[in-house]
C-alpha cells in the first residue's frame, strides 16, 4: 500500500474517531497490516483478520481466555458480519475497546452513530457489551444464558451435592440485582440501568474488555516510537 493511500485512509478514519490521535490511528493501521501480513497485497480479496487470528490477538495481548466471550467480542468488532475484520472495523473497534466511554462500551460500537460511520457501514450491527452477553441475539439475557456464562465461575466444592446449585443461586442474585422490571430476564434497559448504578457490572458475565494493565501494555507497544511508523 502506498503512502498516499495510507495517508488518505488515516485521514478519513481519524476524522470520525475521537478517541485516537492521528498518529495513533496511523500506528493502529500499521499494526493491522503487519498482522494481516502478505495477504493484503492481493487485489479484489477482502483483506482482514479472520476469527482465529483475532481471537489469537485477544488471547495473547489482552489475556482473555473465555472462548465464548472472545467469539462475542469478534462479533462486536465485525460490524458487517462478513467473518473478517477490516482495517476500518479494526480501528473503530479498538477505539471503543480501549478508550470508549461508559456509554460507548455499554453499547459496544453504538457510539459511532454519526452519518459518516453509517455511510461507511450501511448494515451496521449494533453489538455492544450487552450483545456480547446476549448469546442468542434475542435482545434479552435470559437465565439460561447467564447460567451458561457463569457456569465456570465457581470453584467446585466436592462437598456440595448439586454443583450447579451455587451457579443457579448466583444467577438469581444477579437477576435480583439487575432485573429492574422483574420479568425474569435482562433487557438492555435493565442492563443499562444496572451499569449506570454500578459500573462494575459492565462486564457482569465475564471480561469482554481489556483489563487496564494489558491495555496499557498494548498501547505502549503500539504507539511507542513516532518515527518508526511514519516511515512505513
Amino acid at each position: 500500500m502506498n503512502r498516499k493511500k495510507l495517508q488518505k485512509l488515516t485521514d478519513s478514519l481519524n476524522k470520525n474517531c475521537k478517541h485516537f490521535s492521528k498518529f495513533e490511528v496511523k500506528c493502529l493501521i500499521n499494526l493491522f497490516y503487519n498482522l494481516v501480513g502478505e495477504v493484503m497485497e492481493r487485489q479484489g480479496v477482502v483483506i482482514g483478520l479472520d476469527r482465529n487470528a483475532f481471537r489469537n490477538i485477544l488471547h495473547m495481548t489482552f489475556g482473555m481466555t473465555d472462548d465464548m466471550i472472545m467469539d462475542r467480542v469478534f462479533r462486536g468488532f465485525d460490524k458487517d458480519n462478513d467473518g473478517c475484520i477490516s482495517v476500518t472495523e479494526w480501528v473503530y473497534g479498538l477505539s471503543v475497546f480501549l478508550r470508549g466511554t461508559l456509554e460507548e462500551k455499554m453499547k459496544f460500537f453504538q457510539g459511532f452513530q454519526d452519518e459518516i460511520v453509517n455511510l461507511l457501514f450501511p448494515g451496521l450491527l449494533f453489538v455492544d457489551c450487552f450483545e456480547v452477553f446476549d448469546l442468542n441475539g434475542d435482545s434479552f439475557i435470559s437465565k439460561e444464558e447467564m447460567f451458561h456464562m457463569l457456569k465456570n465461575s465457581l470453584l467446585k466444592q466436592p462437598s456440595e451435592e448439586d454443583p450447579d446449585e451455587g451457579i443457579k443461586d448466583l444467577v438469581e442474585i444477579t437477576l435480583k440485582k439487575m432485573d429492574h422490571d422483574h420479568d425474569g430476564k435482562l433487557s438492555f434497559a435493565d442492563y443499562e440501568q444496572a451499569v449506570r448504578e454500578e459500573t462494575l457490572l459492565l462486564e457482569a458475565f465475564g471480561p469482554c474488555l481489556p483489563d487496564p494493565k494489558s491495555q496499557k501494555e498494548f498501547e505502549a507497544q503500539v504507539f511507542k516510537d513516532p518515527n518508526e511508523f511514519s516511515e512505513v
Partner: protein, 1044 residues
C-alpha cells in the same frame, strides 16, 4: 411470717401426724431469720414484748427445767415464769416436755436460755404452731387467708375503726411488725433461692465427664469408676426416666470411690444426694433420698470419700481449670433462678420444671464462650492474649470455680485493649466482640435473614472466579451496610479476611468492589479495629500507589474511615502512608488532563479530595502531623485551598485546623499565605467549612502577624457577623474562639467595636454551652483592656452575667471570667456594680480553687478590685479568713500564683490596719522565703510587696532578719526595668534600718544603685538615690561615732 411459712418453707410431704420442716438450706435460713426477729424483739419493742398472746404457742421442748434461772419458779418437772398476765397466769409454763409461751418477751428469754439449742427450739415451735399469727393476735388477724396484702390492710383498718382500746393499738403494731417480717422472709428466701446453685443437665454432665477423666485404677486418680446407670440420654440432656424428670431429677450415677462401697447417686436440679441404691431385681433404682442434699457431685464425693477429697485437692488445679474451660459460664444459673421465682408457688408442677430445663438449655446456647480468640488474628495481640491468659490461669487457683469465664475473657480483652493504646470507647465493644462469634456458631435461630444471605455471598467471594466475585461484591453492596447487623455479619462469616485478601490480587474490579464495601463498613468502630488486626491498612496504603485513580480514591477514603484511632494512624504512618497520601494531593495540579481516562477512573480533584480526607483522619496524631509537613503537605494543602469545591475544602481546612496546633505549622501557614484563603472561606455558605476555617484561625491567631493578616484580608467582618448566628453551637464555638484570639491585637478590637461585635458577645454570655462561653468571655477579657470597650460592656449590662459566671467550675472558663471581671474592675463605675453583685467575694473564694491558673487569675483580678473599691480596707476585712487565705497562698509552688498573690498583698497592704493583720499572719517570713527567685515577674511583684510591707512596725528589721535583703540586691542585675524600679523602692524602704544598710553594702548594692541613678526612669532614680543616701548617712554616722 405466716405467708412465708406456708408458701416458701419446704414442708415434708409425709402425710401422717405433724408435718415437719425439711432440712434444706432455705428452711434453715427462714428459721434463723424468725429466730433473730424474736430474739431482738424484747430490745427493739419493749412495750409490745409484754403483750399477751391470744393463745399460747405450745410445743414439745427439749429444754431442761434446770436451765431456767432467776425470774422463774423452777421445780423438778415444771417451770413457771414469775411474769404473769392480768389473770395471774404465768406467761411461760413448762411441764416437761410441753412448753407454753404467751408473750414475745418470754419467747426472747426462752431462746436466750436455750443457747445452742435455740435453732431446734425455734424449729419445733414453728412446726407445732402452723399458724402462729392467728395464735398470737387472734383469728381476726389471720393473714394467711388474706388473698392479697390489701385485704390485710383493710382488715386492720376495720379493726382500728371498731375499737380503740390501747391493747388493739399494740396488737396493730405487732401485726405490722409481723407483716414486715413476713415480707422480709419472702424477699430473703427469694434471694436465697437465687443464690442456691441450681444444677442443670449440662453442668452435671460436665462434672461427670471430668471426673471420668480422673478415674481409673491407681493411686493418683480420684475415683475408681463413675458411670451412668442408663446409657440413653433424652433430648433435654437428662437420663432419668421421664416420670422422675418431673421431680427434677437429671440422672443417676454409680460411683466407686477408692475407699468406699459403690455409691448410687441421684443428680437432680435441687442438688446431688444418695438414693436407695440399685434394687437387685432387674436393675431398678430405689429413688428414695437417703442422705443430705449437696450442691454438686464433687462436694458429695468429698464428703463420702477421704481419698477422693485428698486426691481432688491435688488435682484441684487441673480440675478447676478444666471446669472453667468446659463450663464456660454459669449464666444459665441466673436464668434458672429467674424462672424459679415465677414457679415458686407451684414448684412441684411438672410442666414448669420441664420449661425450666428447656429454657436453661436455650440460654446455654447463647452464652459466650472462649471462642473470642478466633476473632482476633493479629499475631501481636494473640501473643499478648495468651500471655495474659497464662498469667490469669496461674493466679486464679484460689478462686472459686464460679468466677465467670466470660468475665475473665473480658478482663483479658481489656488488658489487651490497653496494650493497644486505644483511645475510643472500647469496653462496650469488647463485650460484643466476644459474643458475636458465638452467635455465629450457636444461636442460629436468632439471626436475621441478612446474615445468611451475606454468608452465602462470602462463600461465593471465596470460591468464585473474578466474574462471580464481582457479582457477589455488587450484591453485597446492596445490603444496608450502614446497619450494624450487616457490618458485623460480614465480619462474623469471615468476610473481612476475604475482602482484605481481594485487595492483594491483581484484579482491579475486585479491588474496587471490595474497597467500596470496606469503605462503608469501616464506619463501625469494631470493624475498623478488625481491619487493622487483619493487616488491612498496609495493603490499602500500597493501593495508594496504584495507577488507577478510582482505586486510590477508594483506598484513601477507607483509610480515612479506619484511621480514626491511634493505633491505626500509627500503622498508616509506619507503612509510608502519609507520604503517599500527600502525593495524592498533588494530583490536583493537572486539572486540565485529557479526558482519555479509562473506564474505572475518576477525576484528579476527587483523588486529591480523598487524599485530604484520609490526611484529616491521620492528622489527629502528633507524629503524623510532622510526617505530613515533612512530606511537603503544607504547600499542597495551600494550593488545594484555592479551589472552590466545598467537598474538597472541608477536609483540607480540617487537616490544617488539626495541624495548626503545632508551632511549625502555624509558621508554615503564615508563610504559605493560607490565612487569606481561610478568611475567604469564612464567607462560604457551608457551615462545616465555616466552622473549620474559624477553628483554624483560632489555632493560628496566637501569632501576632497572623492576627494582622486576618484583619488585612477582611476576616474580622465575617467573624463578627457569624457571631449572630447561634444555632450551630460547634460553629459558634469555633467562631468565638477565632474572635477571642484575634482580639488580642488592639487594632482588631477596634475593628470589632466598629462591627458591634462586643455587644453581640455580651449577648452570648447567657444560655450558651461552656465551649462557647470560654471563648466569649476570653474575647471580652481582651476587649476590656480598652477603656471604651469597658464602657460598652457596662452599658450593655455585661457585668452581671460575667459575675454570675464566677460560680462555675470549668477551669478554662474561670480563668477567662476572672480576667474579664478584673479588667472591668479597672473602671470605678463598673467596680461599683461588681461590688454590689458581691463579685469581690466570689473572686476571693476562687483563691481556694484547686487549679493554680484559676487562683492566679483570680488574684490578678482582685488587684484592680481592691484599688478601685470604695472603702477597700473595710471590704477586705469583711471577708472572714480572707487575709489569712491570701497570706497562706504564698506557700504555693506556682510562680504565677505567687506573683499574683504578691500583687494582691501589695494592694491589701495599702490599708494600715490590714497590713497589721497580714503581718500577724506571718507575711514577712513567707515573703523573705520567696526572695531567692529568678523569675522577673515574681521579683517585681515581690519587691513591690516588700516595699509596701516595710511600712508597718518592725517589718524592716524582720525582713533583714529573714535574709531577704541580699537576694533583693541581686535583683538589680536583672534586665527588667520594672524589676529595677520595684527593687530600688524596696531597698530604699529597707535601708531605713542600719543592719540592712550594712547587708546591702556588703552585697555591692552601692555600685549597682549608682548605675540606677542614671536611669531615665524618675521613680527609679529617686528610689536609688534615696537608698544610697541612707547608706551614706549610716557610714557618716559611724565615722562620726568613731571620732567622737
Amino acid at each position: 411470717m405466716g405467708v412465708a411459712l406456708t408458701r416458701s418453707a419446704q414442708w415434708t410431704a409425709a402425710g401422717h401426724g405433724a408435718k415437719t420442716l425439711e432440712v434444706t438450706p432455705l428452711n434453715e435460713a427462714i428459721v434463723k431469720e424468725i429466730m433473730m426477729f424474736v430474739e431482738s424483739f424484747i430490745y427493739k419493742y419493749p412495750q409490745e414484748a409484754n403483750y399477751v398472746f391470744v393463745e399460747p404457742l405450745e410445743w414439745k421442748t427439749n429444754l431442761d427445767p434446770s436451765a431456767f434461772g432467776s425470774g422463774y419458779a423452777v421445780s423438778e418437772t415444771t417451770v413457771k415464769s414469775e411474769e404473769v398476765d392480768k389473770n395471774g397466769e404465768p406467761l411461760l409454763y413448762l411441764s416437761v416436755p410441753q412448753i407454753k409461751i404467751r408473750s414475745f418477751g418470754q419467747l426472747s428469754r426462752m431462746l436466750y436460755i436455750a443457747k445452742s439449742m435455740k435453732l431446734k427450739e425455734a424449729q419445733a415451735c414453728i412446726e407445732a404452731n402452723r399458724n402462729p399469727v392467728a395464735k398470737i393476735l387472734g383469728l381476726d388477724y389471720n393473714i394467711i387467708n388474706g388473698k392479697n396484702g390489701n385485704s390485710f390492710v383493710s382488715s386492720v383498718l376495720d379493726k382500728m375503726n371498731k375499737d380503740d382500746d390501747p391493747e388493739s393499738e399494740i396488737k396493730m403494731k405487732i401485726a405490722l411488725q409481723l407483716k414486715q417480717l413476713d415480707l422480709h422472709l419472702l424477699n430473703h428466701s427469694l434471694k436465697h433461692i437465687s443464690l442456691e446453685i441450681r444444677l442443670n443437665s449440662g453442668t452435671v454432665k460436665n462434672d461427670i465427664e471430668l471426673l471420668k477423666q480422673f478415674s481409673g485404677k491407681g493411686e493418683q486418680t480420684v475415683l475408681e469408676s463413675i458411670e451412668y446407670t442408663s446409657d440413653y440420654e433424652f433430648s433435654n440432656g437428662c437420663r432419668a426416666p421421664p416420670w422422675r424428670q418431673i421431680q427434677g431429677e437429671i440422672c443417676y450415677v454409680l460411683v466407686k470411690p477408692h475407699d468406699a462401697e459403690i455409691l448410687c447417686v441421684t443428680c437432680s436440679k435441687e442438688g446431688v444426694f444418695l438414693n436407695g441404691g440399685k434394687t437387685d431385681d432387674e436393675g431398678q433404682i430405689n429413688y428414695e433420698r437417703k442422705g443430705e442434699i449437696y450442691k454438686d457431685l464433687v462436694t458429695l464425693l468429698k464428703e463420702k470419700s477421704a481419698i477422693f477429697s485428698e486426691n481432688m485437692s491435688k488435682q484441684e488445679v487441673k480440675f478447676s481449670e478444666q471446669l472453667q474451660k468446659d463450663q464456660p459460664n454459669k449464666a444459665p444459673k441466673e436464668e434458672v433462678a429467674v424462672t424459679h421465682k415465677t414457679s415458686i408457688t407451684s414448684r412441684k408442677s411438672a410442666q414448669e420444671n420441664r420449661i425450666n430445663l428447656g429454657r436453661s438449655q436455650l440460654t446455654k446456647r447463647l452464652e459466650p464462650s472462649l471462642n473470642w480468640r478466633t476473632s482476633v488474628s493479629s499475631k501481636e495481640s494473640r501473643n499478648t492474649l495468651r500471655d495474659t491468659q497464662v498469667e490469669k490461669h496461674g493466679g486464679k487457683l484460689e478462686k472459686s470455680r464460679s468466677s465467670l469465664s466470660s468475665g475473665r475473657a473480658q478482663l483479658i480483652r481489656k488488658s489487651v485493649e490497653k496494650i493497644e493504646e486505644i483511645i475510643s470507647d472500647s469496653s462496650s465493644e469488647s463485650e460484643e466482640d466476644e459474643e458475636q462469634p458465638d452467635h455465629r456458631q450457636e444461636a442460629n435461630a436468632d439471626l436475621p435473614s441478612e446474615y445468611w444471605q451475606i454468608q452465602k455471598l462470602v462463600k461465593y467471594l471465596k470460591g468464585g472466579n473474578q466474574t462471580a466475585t464481582v457479582i457477589a461484591l455488587c450484591s453485597m453492596k446492596d445490603f444496608n451496610l450502614a446497619q450494624e447487623t450487616c457490618q458485623l455479619a460480614i465480619r462474623d462469616v469471615g468476610g473481612l479476611e476475604v475482602l482484605i485478601n481481594l485487595l492483594e490480587t491483581d484484579e482491579v474490579k475486585c479491588k474496587i468492589g471490595s474497597l467500596k464495601i470496606l469503605k462503608e463498613i469501616s464506619h463501625n468502630p469494631q470493624i475498623r479495629r478488625n481491619i487493622v488486626d487483619l493487616g488491612g491498612l498496609p495493603v490499602m496504603v500500597n493501593i495508594l500507589d496504584s495507577p488507577h485513580k478510582s482505586l486510590k480514591c477508594l483506598a484513601a477514603e477507607t483509610i480515612a474511615n479506619v484511621a480514626k484511632f491511634k493505633r491505626a494512624r500509627r500503622v498508616v504512618r509506619r507503612h509510608g502512608g502519609i507520604t503517599k497520601l500527600v502525593a495524592l494531593l498533588d494530583c490536583g495540579k493537572h486539572s486540565a488532563e485529557p479526558a482519555q481516562s479509562s473506564l474505572y477512573e475518576t477525576r484528579d480533584v476527587e483523588v486529591a479530595r480523598c487524599g485530604a480526607l484520609a490526611l484529616w483522619s491521620c492528622s489527629k496524631s502528633y507524629a503524623n502531623k510532622e510526617s505530613i509537613r515533612k512530606a511537603g503537605g503544607i504547600p499542597l494543602l495551600a494550593r488545594l485551598l484555592k479551589t472552590s469545591h466545598e467537598d474538597m475544602l472541608i477536609p483540607v481546612v480540617g487537616t490544617l485546623q488539626e495541624c495548626a496546633s503545632e508551632e511549625n505549622y502555624r509558621a508554615a501557614i503564615k508563610a504559605e499565605r493560607i490565612i487569606e484563603n481561610l478568611v475567604k472561606n469564612l464567607n462560604s455558605e457551608n457551615e462545616q467549612l465555616q466552622e473549620h476555617c474559624a477553628m483554624a484561625i483560632y489555632q493560628c491567631a496566637e501569632d501576632e502577624d497572623t492576627r494582622d493578616l486576618v484583619r488585612l484580608h477582611g476576616g474580622l467582618k465575617p467573624l463578627a457577623s457569624l457571631l449572630t448566628n447561634t444555632d450551630n453551637k460547634e460553629r459558634l464555638a469555633a467562631v468565638t474562639g477565632a474572635v477571642w484570639k484575634c482580639s488580642i491585637s488592639k487594632e482588631n478590637v477596634t475593628k470589632f467595636r466598629e462591627y458591634k461585635a462586643i455587644e453581640t458577645l455580651v449577648g452570648l454570655l447567657t444560655d450558651q454551652p461552656e465551649e462557647v462561653l470560654v471563648n466569649v468571655v476570653g474575647a471580652l477579657g481582651e476587649c476590656c483592656q480598652e477603656h471604651e470597650n469597658r464602657i460598652i460592656i457596662r452599658k450593655c449590662g455585661g457585668i452581671q452575667p460575667l459575675v454570675n459566671l464566677l460560680v462555675g467550675i470549668n477551669q478554662a472558663l474561670l480563668v477567662n471570667v476572672t480576667k474579664a471581671v478584673g479588667a472591668c474592675a479597672v473602671e470605678p463605675e463598673s467596680m461599683m456594680i461588681i461590688d454590689r453583685l458581691d463579685g469581690v467575694r466570689l473572686l476571693w473564694s476562687l483563691l481556694k480553687n484547686p487549679h493554680p491558673d484559676v487562683k492566679a487569675s483570680a488574684a490578678w483580678a482582685l488587684c484592680p478590685c481592691i484599688q478601685n473599691a470604695k472603702d477597700a480596707g473595710e471590704m477586705v476585712r469583711s471577708f472572714v479568713g480572707g487575709l489569712e487565705l491570701v497570706v497562706n497562698l504564698l506557700k504555693s509552688e506556682n510562680k504565677e500564683v505567687l506573683a499574683s498573690v504578691c500583687a494582691v498583698i501589695t494592694n491589701i497592704a495599702k490599708d494600715q490596719e490590714n497590713l497589721a493583720v497580714i503581718t500577724d499572719h506571718g507575711v514577712v517570713p513567707l515573703l523573705s522565703k520567696l526572695a531567692n527567685t529568678n523569675n522577673d515577674k515574681l521579683r517585681r511583684h515581690l519587691a513591690e510587696t516588700i516595699s509596701r510591707c516595710c511600712m508597718w512596725g518592725r517589718n524592716r528589721v524582720a525582713f533583714g532578719e529573714h535574709k531577704a535583703v541580699a537576694p533583693l540586691v541581686r535583683y538589680l542585675k536583672s534586665n527588667d526595668t520594672n524589676v529595677h524600679r520595684a527593687t530600688a523602692q524596696a531597698l530604699y524602704q529597707l535601708s531605713e534600718d542600719a543592719d540592712n544598710c550594712i547587708t546591702m553594702h556588703e552585697n555591692g548594692a552601692v555600685k549597682l544603685l549608682l548605675d540606677m541613678v542614671g536611669s531615665p526612669d524618675e521613680e527609679l532614680q529617686e528610689a536609688a538615690a534615696g537608698c544610697i543616701s541612707n547608706i551614706r548617712r549610716l557610714a557618716l554616722a559611724i565615722e562620726k561615732a568613731r571620732y567622737s
